[in-house]
Structures are given as C-alpha cells and as structure tokens.
Point group: C2
C-alpha cells in the first residue's frame, strides 16, 4: 500500500491535471459563447470532446480509484488533514458518479443531447413541439436508466434532483413549493385583479452600447467584485463563469432600448461571480474550487439581484450611477420611481422575463411537468396541454404557442431535468441568508443605501463563498443560519414587499 | 514492426492529441491578450505550463519516436500517401528540434525568458538598458548552446535564422539587405532632403469606438475573409491567430483620434487571417495546419497591408467605407489625398510606427546587432552605442533614449533572436508574389479598385494558403513564381512607388 504522503501528493497532482482540463474546457466554452465565429464550433467540439474524454479517464482510471481507496483508509485512520479530507469527499463522489455511466453510454448520451439541442434551436421559433417531443422522451428514458445505475433503490426523479442540489427530493421540493404557492398565487391574483401598473416612461429610454458597458463595470465594482480579477464580455444570453479565484467573467447582453435589463443581468451575474471570486485561495487547482450546488450559486445571484439590487435602499446608489451615465433619461427620476420600475409584478409567459414575484410560479410549472414525465404519468406528447393547464392555474394566462410555452427553455434539450427547482430554491436560500445576517447584526439596508456592500459581503464570504465545494448546501445553510432550510423567510419577504408595493 | 495502416492511424491520433493542446493553448493565450483580467495570469500560466509539458511528452515520447521510424520506412518504401508524407516531414522535424533540448534545460529557459520579459516591461519606460543587459547576454549564450545541439556544424546565428525561416542564412540575408540598402537608403535620404510632407488634417479626425469596430468588420469582409469563420476582438497590440480553418481571429486596438492606424492594423492582420482560413481543410487536426514560416506569414499580411491596402487603386473602395462610417471627416477627402495620407515616408525611431519605405531599415539595425552579439563581436553592454550608430547610418536620426531605441521591441525579452529578418523578407516575398500574379494574368489593380479581391485571393489560395505547413518557404516561392526568391522585385516596387509619390 502506498504511503499516505505519497498518495496525498499523487492525489494533488491528479486534481491539478483534472483542473487543467476543467479550466481549459470552461475557457473554450466561454470563448464559444462570447467571441468565436460560428464555424469555429467544429474545432471547439473536437477539442472539448477530447478534453472531456481525458478528464473522464483521469477521474475514473485505476490509479484514481486506488488513490481514493488509500486516502479513504488514511482518513478513517485520522491521518488526513481537513482540506484533503474535503477534497477526497468531493472527488470520490465525482468519481462514483462518473463510474456509474459506461463510456459508450456517455458517448451516446452526448450525441443525443447534441442532436436534441440542434432540433430545439430549429423548432423553437416555429413552435413545432411534435418534432422535439421524441427527443424529450428519449432523454427522459436515458436519464431514468442512468438514475437506476446511480441509485437503484431511489425514485429516478429524486436522483436527478439530488444531482443538482444534494439532499433534496420530491418530498422536500413539494413541501417547499406548496408553501410558496400558498403565499404567491393569491398575491399575484390580487395584483392582477387591481389591474393597475405605474406609468414609468424612463424605462424605455435609450442607452448607448458603450455607456451601458461602462455602467456594467461600475455596477460590478460597486457590488464588491475585485476588478483586477473580473472581466466583462458580451453574449446572447447573460451568464457568468469562474475559471479560478483570480479570474471570473460576466457576460451580458446590451439592448439599447432597455437599460434596466442589462442592469439586472449584470447584478445577477456579478452575484455568481462574487461567489467564485471568494472561494478560499487554498482550494486553487483542486476539486474544491467553484460553487457547491446550483441552488447555492443561484442564492448568491438572486441575493444580489433582488434582495440588494431591487431593494428600496439600493435605489440611491443605483440612481446615482444611472444619472451619471444617462443624465438625460435619469436626472429627474426619483428613487421611489426607480424602485417601482425595478419591481413591477405582472404574470407573463416567459420565465426569463419574469419578475421576482411571479418567477417561482414559472419554476413550479416546469417542476410538475418533469415529475409527470419521470413518473410515467405523461409522455412528451402531453406536455403542451399540461403546460397550458398549469400556466392557467398559476399565472392565469393562456399560452398562445409553444415558442413562449414548453419550447421556451434550453434546459431539456441539454438533458437538464431536475435543474429548474434550484432557481426557486436559490431565492428562498437568499431570503433566509439575509434574515440571518440581520440577526447577526449586519446593517443590510444601510449597506445597500450607502452603496458599500462590505458588511454583507464579509458575512457571505465567511459563511458561504470561501467554502467552495467543501460543504454541501444543507451544511452551508445550517452553518450560516443556525437552522435548516426554511422557506418561510422567502414567503414572508415576498408577501411584505409586494403587499407594500401594490398597497394590498 | 507495426503495420503501416496501424502506424498511420496511430500517427493521426497522436497529431489530434497534439492539435488539442495547440488549439487550447492558442485559445488561452488569445483570451489572455483580449479578455482575461490581470489576476487571471496565474491560473492561465498553470494551465499553459501543464499543456506545454503534455505536448512535449506526446511529441517526444518513445511511442512518437517509434512512429516516426516506422512511417519513415513506409515512406522510403513508397507506401505512404502524399499528405501523410507531408505530415511526417513536419512532425519529424518538430520532434527532432524538441528532442534536442533536454526537459530541464527547457524549463530553465522558460524561467529565464519569463524573468527577462518582466524586467523588460519594467525598464522599457525608464530606458534602463543596464538592468536588462544581463538577460540579453544570458539569452544569447543559451541560444548559442541550443544552436550547437541542433546543428553543431553550423554557425549559431544561422541556426536561429533557419528556425524562423527554413533555408535562410546570414549569407542570403546579408545579400538581401545589401540590395535593399542600396535602393532604400538613397530614397529615404532624398525624401528627407526635400523636407516637404503633404498637409492632410483629416488624418487626425475623430472616429468613435463603435464606428471603428464596424469599419474593421467591413474591411475584413472586403478583403475576402469569410466572416462566419472569423472574429474581431480588441487588445493592446494588434495581432491575429488561426485556431482552425473555421476559426481565425483578428485583434485590433482602437485609437479614437487615429482611424487610419486601426485601418492598417486590421488590413495587416486580416492578411495573416486569410492565410490561416484558407489552409486545405484536409489538414484539419494535423501538424500541417497554420502557416509555414514567419516570413511567408508576414508576406501575406504585408501584401494586404501595403501592396493592396496602400495602393492607389484600393483608395476608391477604402474611401467609400471611410465616408460611410465617418461622413463628416471623409466626405470631402479625395482618393489622391487618401493615397498620400496612407503613404507618408519619413524616418522615425520606432519600428511599429514606421512606414512602408523606412521599415526594412529598422529591421537591418536589429539584424546587425543580433549578428554582432552571436558572433561575439559585441556584448549586451555595447548595444545602445551600436543602435545609435546604426540608426544614424540608416535613418539619419539620433536616438534620445533606449525607450525608443534598443528597448523598444519585445522580441529579445522573449528569446526571439533571428526572427526580425522575416519581417523584411515578408515584404520582399509579397512584391515578388504580386509580380508573379500579374504575369499570370491577374488584374491586380482592377481587383483593388473594384474592392473585389477574388482574383488575387484565388491565386494566393492555390499557390500559398492551401499548403499550410506542407511546403517550406523556398518551395512555395519557387512554385508560385517559377523562380527562387529575388529581392529585386521589392526594391523596384519601392523605388517606383516612392519616387512617384515624392516626385524624385
């Protein structure tokens, strides 16, 4: 048996080799989404395929398996330092999951989602769900098979949920949505019945491309990103990515007739980027870099976008930046008007354009459709009708076509079933985190009003960001809040905020 | 012994693995030069180092050596197809050169040039050559040692020259420069003695960032780049890079008070990009992708920049684009005025700002300094005085400080000795290529005037571009022109053009 010291050293070296591949794959994908010309896709696909295969081989090879065995024994004997033990936990889980899928099955899966994605791109504008439906059925069948390999005893959709957010299941997500539904559906109904929305013409004011890019950088710095370790790019759909603690990226999309769209995209993505930028530097080049789960990641973006960025207190520094870059449009806008403009709640069909209040209802629709597909209660052919009925039920709207209905999201074409709930969970975590930091004495509103988030960020860095992947969501929430996840904070926050905004 | 078919298949697979590393290293470097934040350098360095090491191992490992042996035998037996034989030639040479330097020596070299580069960046603004000089001496000593390993029988500087441009030597470069000197020095002196330069105030007209970016894309398309396979980025010092035939990049720098600077940077870099974009698609993922030598690459950029872009005929379509994007500044400019503005010849101190006529004189200065260092006739301590005397001799100027003198270029800090001559050779190849295409019936001026370079590009694609690395410079020149390289075309071209421009 290898000596622990030699195993530890080999383990760190192996993680570095994996890191090199993860890093380069992220850069290639980022380049593909921001700069690369259309025809570059073939070469990028070739390189990404080769790197992914090397990654899989390194992660699952017999050397890597022997290392996990040797280090697990050392950990059980208590001779492993804390960080290496964290690394081992995460690495061993990654390895177990990668080993569960045979190489040829993984290759078939890659071809399937690649094809599905191309079909989805083609039919989304025409709304032709029938052409896409066979892929949905095949993807669900493949994922159920995969779930059975990963955990034969569990419900397949529970296995999917757990892949994106450790520890959750349909039981917990059902309970969560049931509580959210009870708060949000009546609120939305009340707002719709009032039928009044504020008139705020400055929302359509024009902002030049260059001025909006400058504003984006202002915002990133204001939120606390260290700008010598962060860059801004442009893309079709805003996203962010962390390559390393010293290199995080935000990609936005500029619409010259919608300045606030870019403002909130950038604040949202900067929240993700803050998380990645503040992972413990000691985790560099290990499997602990990056965020721990989709839900925790989304909690950081939603916290910045909504709890900070759409708070009444933050309107003061935000207005100052807007007035500096767009004096004609914003010089005479008041903070109250901006607050209303940033918080219009109104049922709509497209999730990506949904407001803070109606957003979780969009997630519930997708969650219930996914549940039905995995339970065998529906096939892809039933989805448009199901979508229609759930949209009527939660949003009170009719779906005129599949383009703005069940074809609107890219996730299913990429095989991402079980992912959507993390978007709603993220907002709920965020509300609980803010409540906890207030309890801990953080002057949240004062920090927002001053445009200096240092106290907020210090709390998040200590309790969330620095841990990278070392702790799972549940452990982070308990550590940060002193209690388990509780959706009550989120429901109370939404009820109070939107009751006041709409005088309900 | 392995069967040829199995060896060929393994050889293609090995090239693919090398290609993946080359491609990702290029993307990482491109990202570093265009988007990455400052602090991203550490992670990028880690990844680049790991990839370069893997590349070296793949290229020089015993498997790779055995393949070269097996395939060489197959080639000698006449059982190798033409393309694989090309690949073998290039691969075997790359392997031989990589094997000549032991791994630990290569690592020491990387550290040395890394340190030298940091020192150069620090002292360039202050002009402190003394702080940089020890690195120059160490780099020259290391390169002489490396040259001795590569070819113990040859003069070390000849070995360096050959690395950048196969087949050249001091004998041929001396002859080339002697002919250029005889034509250009008297021309420059005559222009300087006249002392008159045209007054063209539109040259300083302001062009907004966005309009200049749009103009850059107009120009790339006009020159014949397929824009679904080309992208434009921004950087500090303009450059271009080919990642694959379907993915070439141009990076420019926008100065809002100097539109023509960007125009000629983009045309120059588009010339490089056209070469990369038009390599035979059958060479994809092999060692034959990319350009064959620095000199041939530069011939394509200089051909587009000077022979096309600064020709009288091209002023018509260029003016049309300029007037479309900058109507206020360019609506009343004539094609003759633009031609004068694009062709002002005047001795200056900085190579990167030099005009077409005086440019080769800057190269001669560097070449003679490098020769003296490699011959042991000078050490780094002598370089400032040598630079001064050569600048006086060729350009008739005094060097006020080392910032605009011997510290101006980045090449030496990166260990690139023997590289400079390829810049001048490129212009001379370009002149010979244009003469040859005219002889072949290409209506060069008409194509430029029409803003439709298709006939020019068809000639270049067939004779230069498509061959990638399959043929060396000398073979390409002979194939394209029917004769060996002859600097007379270049000298006659410069003499005729600038005599007419300055009525000499």
């Amino acid at each position: 048996m290898t000596q622990p010291a030699a195993s530890v050293s080999a383990f760190k070296q192996l993680q570095r080799s994996l890191w090199t591949r993860d890093y380069t794959m992220k850069i290639l994908s980022f380049d593909g989404a921001t700069v690369a010309p259309e025809r570059g896709a073939a070469a990028r696909g070739e390189a990404l395929g080769a790197l992914a295969e090397e990654r899989h081989r390194l992660l699952t090879g017999s050397d890597a398996q022997d290392l996990v065995t040797a280090l697990s024994a050392a950990r059980d004997a208590g001779t492993l330092d804390e960080q290496t033990a964290f690394e081992l936990n995460v690495f061993a889980r990654d390895q177990r999951e990668a080993l569960a899928v045979p190489a040829e099955e993984e290759a078939a899966w890659t071809r399937l989602v690649c094809e599905a994605d191309a079909v989805w791109h083609r039919v989304k504008p025409t709304g032709d769900w029938e052409a896409f439906a066979p892929y949905v059925d095949r993807i669900v069948a493949t994922l159920k098979q995969r779930a059975a390999r990963l955990n034969p005893a569990a419900d397949p959709y529970d296995v999917m949920l757990d892949l994106y957010e450790r520890g959750i299941s349909q039981a917990s997500v059902d309970a969560f949505f049931s509580e959210v539904r009870a708060s949000v559906v009546p609120l939305v109904r009340a707002i719709t019945e009032r039928g009044e929305q504020p008139s705020l013409p400055f929302r359509a004011a024009r902002g030049s491309h260059d001025a909006q890019m400058a504003l984006s950088r202002d915002l990133m710095a204001l939120l606390g990103l260290e700008m010598d370790g962060a860059a801004l790019s442009e893309t079709e759909h805003p996203f962010s990515e962390g390559f390393a603690a010293g290199d995080v990226r935000v990609a936005t999309h500029i619409y010259e007739d919608d300045v606030l769209s870019n403002v909130y995209s950038v604040i949202h993505e900067a929240g993700h980027a803050l998380y990645e930028q503040n992972v413990d530097p000691a985790y560099a080049y290990t499997c602990l870099e990056g965020g721990t789960s989709m839900g925790i990641h989304e909690s950081q973006s939603r916290l910045m976008e909504n709890m900070v960025g759409r708070s009444r207190a933050f309107m003061e520094p935000l207005l100052e930046l807007l007035a500096k870059r767009f004096p004609e449009a914003y010089a005479n806008v008041t903070a109250d008007e901006l607050y209303r403009a940033a918080n219009i709640a109104q049922p709509s069909l497209v999730r990506l354009e949904a407001d803070e209040l109606t957003y979780p209802l969009h997630i519930m629709i997708r969650y219930e459709v996914e549940q039905a597909l995995f339970a065998g209660e529906a096939t892809a052919a039933d989805v448009p009708a199901l979508w229609q009925s759930l949209t009527r039920k939660y949003l009170g709207l009719e779906v005129p076509n599949n383009t703005v209905g069940c074809l609107q999201d890219t996730h299913w074409s990429g095989g991402d079933f079980g992912y959507f709930p993390t978007y709603a969970l993220g907002s709920a975590y965020a509300a609980q985190f803010v409540a906890a930091m207030r309890t801990d004495g953080v002057a949240f509103d004062a920090a927002c009003a001053a445009g200096n988030l240092a106290p907020i960020n210090a709390w998040l860095r200590e309790r969330i960001w620095r841990w990278g992947r070392a702790k799972d969501a549940d452990e982070l929430v308990r550590g940060a809040c002193g209690t388990a996840f509780d959706p009550g904070f989120y429901c109370r926050y939404l009820t109070e905020k939107f009751s006041a905004l709409y005088s309900l």
